[in-house]
Amino acid sequence: MTVVSTIPTEESETETFRTHIVERLQQKELDLPLLPVVANQVLLLSGDPNADSSKLSALIQQDQALAGQILRIANSAACAPRSPIVSLQQAIAWLGMNMLASLAFSVSVQSGVFKVKGYEKEVRTLWHQALATGLYGKEIARRNRHNVENAFLCGILHTIGKPLLIHLILQARGDSPAQPSWAVMDTLIQESHILAGTKLAEAWQLPQPVQEAIRFYPDEAYHQANSPTKGAMITCLADHLATSIVDPSSLDEEALRALPVVQDLNFYPEDMDALLELKDSIQQSVEAFLV
């Protein structure tokens, strides 16, 4: 009898996942679970009638999966908003604390939680990157006195395709005990996260400027965006600044200042000085998230 090895090579494994991803992205129903720690906090806060409403609001605004799901449900026929909900703040003001708490609760129950075991560090970095992009997006928009709320939403959701891909890969793995390496995951994420994010945003009918930021935030693409809110361009710079926080070996200050998007946003050296000065405070906010 010949023994056939069942240990897949990295390449064939990647290919299998790739096929699964492509198949899943073609389906209309896309779901995205929450991080276990986010789901826990939601359950805690939404179950406590004395909970501080600003804590729930902060939680919703810090987690991309939760933020996206809240927007999706807030816009659904079940909630029947008078006009579309295009910002998290609007959702919060429109729905009120009680409704929000029950929405958050049902999201965390229905979506389930990520099984991130083995990838904790990498997953945390992804979440931190998204949050830092949202926070930098806000500050960039604030300097322009334009579009702060929208810039934050674009920033936090611009890489929503990344957790979706992790989820799809983990789903494809099923109950197999073998863990795909992070290198495999990362290859697939880099390859397809924009497509995955775009599909998710379409399926969830996220606001138009957010859909645009997801598709067009990279350096070579933001010129294609035409929303007056400039969300893609703002997110492009915010993403670079956020990367410099989560991965200090990426771009140094000089390289950040030389990015074409800086000039396209009409930022002078003093504008960049002001943004770079925010590094510590943004880093603190990011690190304080879900410790």
């Binding site: 902060a58 003001a93 009120g96 809110t229 002078y268």
Partner: protein, 465 residues
């Protein structure tokens, strides 16, 4: 070493004031450089002021008329169309206007420099580009037209997210349920009435007992009634102690009276400050006034005679209309050209809902200036056929004449079309037309211009026999 280029005229700022100054220089055959720190030309007027606020107003009015028409015709407008169409139209109009202005500058052979200007001396101006690269321009004459921006009061933490100013209000992507507007001036009143019409619960808060204090009280009374009819509230004689975002869903405003107001968003419109911080005007031998403005004489010359300043940077009236004329006249003066007679009667147009406009003396000013009584003639729009036909019955035209009822001294109008209608009065004032000329002449019928005749007749009736 930075490159140096010499010009006959350097203009700093491409808003209405700078643009007209530069064009006047070019038309006179001079080599002109125009420095602008933003990518686009047109200034606050195009991107944050006149053009966007008026576009928003027009679109809001059209939308409301359209919504009212749904009572008559059988259709429904999608709710989400409102803000999306408002914003798209705003962007289209602003872009088109910006493009037009750029073309006008190019057509006139003006050299455009994209960068921030600062004086190195009274005849040298450095332009610092986005990348920090510099170019020095020299010119025997320069014009400062750097405009203004919203004032940030110390006690109100404007974050452009929950607490907005008149720039950031234009980037709202949805209508808040409620809005507190701080201020009772032109910008505050315009935005308050637009948002109120669009169904936002608006509360204006100001220290004055009525908004737009400089206008005739009969006009502002009518404005307040219309504002209240759309659900708005004016809270006069109130000082704000502080305002803050509660971290969840509302902005709370504490008044000195101890009362607290709550709203989803706040608009702060408490005046404007001149843009002089990057200019290094001291190097040119200039000092700002205590209010941070550049002071000028009647010809818009600063204390350094070959440096002129025009537009919002010199303070009131801070209108695009006046800024343009100041720009043109300043350059005519600098080049020894005849600028024509100085404008005597500048109309004031306020694009609230309803519009208000004023030219010449108010009733009170007429009494103070000429002593005795002034005669006032009134025409209510509901008395005019056109007012009835168009459903514009809430309007008033008020004519102020001397005590004999012969000489026209001022015209004040509230109601849709007021900012256009005022120009008949302006021409009347400029050409010293008697009150009777408005009675004897024929205007198109049915038009709102008939109000002039009715008001003039009202004055004629009051003359002492």
């Amino acid at each position: 070493m930075t490159p140096t280029t010499s010009y006959d005229l350097v203009v700093i700022g491409s808003g209405p004031a700078g643009q007209k100054a530069a064009i006047q220089g070019a038309k006179a055959g001079k080599r002109v450089a125009l420095i602008e720190q933003t990518r686009e030309v047109g200034g606050a007027c195009v991107y944050h002021g006149t053009i966007p606020s008026k576009t928003l107003r027009e679109t809001a009015l059209k939308m409301v008329h359209f919504l009212h028409a749904t009572d008559v015709f059988d259709f429904r407008m999608r709710d989400d169309l409102k803000i999306a169409s408002l914003m798209t139209r705003l962007d289209t109009v602003v872009r088109a206007h910006g493009k037009f202005m750029k073309e006008q500058i190019t057509r006139n052979g003006i050299d455009r420099f994209h960068g921030r200007a600062q004086f190195l001396s009274d005849r040298e101006i450095q332009v610092r580009g986005l990348g920090g690269n510099t170019t020095t321009l020299t010119a025997p004459v320069s014009v400062i037209a750097t405009g203004s921006r919203p004032r940030v009061p110390d006690h109100i933490p404007i974050d452009h997210e929950h607490i907005l100013d008149s720039d950031s209000i234009l980037s709202l992507v949805y209508f808040p349920k409620s809005l507190t507007v701080l201020g009772g001036g032109v910008i505050a009143s315009e935005y308050a009435s637009i948002f109120s019409l669009l169904g936002v619960q608006v509360t204006m808060v100001d220290t004055a007992d009525r908004p737009l204090k400089f206008l005739d009280p009969e006009l502002t009374d009518q404005f307040c009634r219309a504002f209240e009819k759309t659900g708005g509230h004016y809270r006069g004689q109130q000082k704000v102690q502080h305002a803050q975002w509660d971290g969840f869903s509302k902005v709370t405003t504490l008044l000195e009276s101890g009362e607290t107001l709550e709203s989803e968003k706040m608009l702060v419109a408490l005046g404007r400050v001149a843009n002089i911080e990057h200019l290094n005007i001291q190097a040119a031998g200039l000092t700002p006034t205590p209010r941070g403005l550049i002071s000028v004489n009647d010809q818009c010359q600063t204390t350094v005679p070959h440096i002129y300043a025009v537009g919002d940077v010199i303070g009131p009236p801070s209108l695009a209309s006046c800024s343009m004329e100041q720009g043109r006249r300043a350059v005519c003066h600098a080049l020894g050209l005849n600028p024509g007679d100085a404008p005597e009667h500048i109309p004031m147009g306020i694009f609230t809902i309803p519009e208000m406009s004023s030219v010449g003396l108010s009733e009170q000013e007429a009494i103070e200036k000429y002593g005795g009584d002034a005669l006032v003639g009134r025409a209510h729009f509901h008395e005019i056929a056109r007012g009835q036909i168009s459903g514009m019955t809430n309007g008033l035209l008020k004519m102020v004449a001397d005590a004999k009822g012969g000489k026209l001294l001022g015209v004040h109008i509230v109601g849709e079309g007021a900012t256009e209608l005022i120009h008949i009065g302006q021409m009347g004032l400029l050409h010293h037309i008697d009150i009777d000329r408005f009675v004897d002449n024929i205007f198109n019928f049915p038009t709102l211009a008939e109000a002039y005749r009715i008001a003039a007749l009202d004055i004629a009736k009051q003359r002492k026999k």
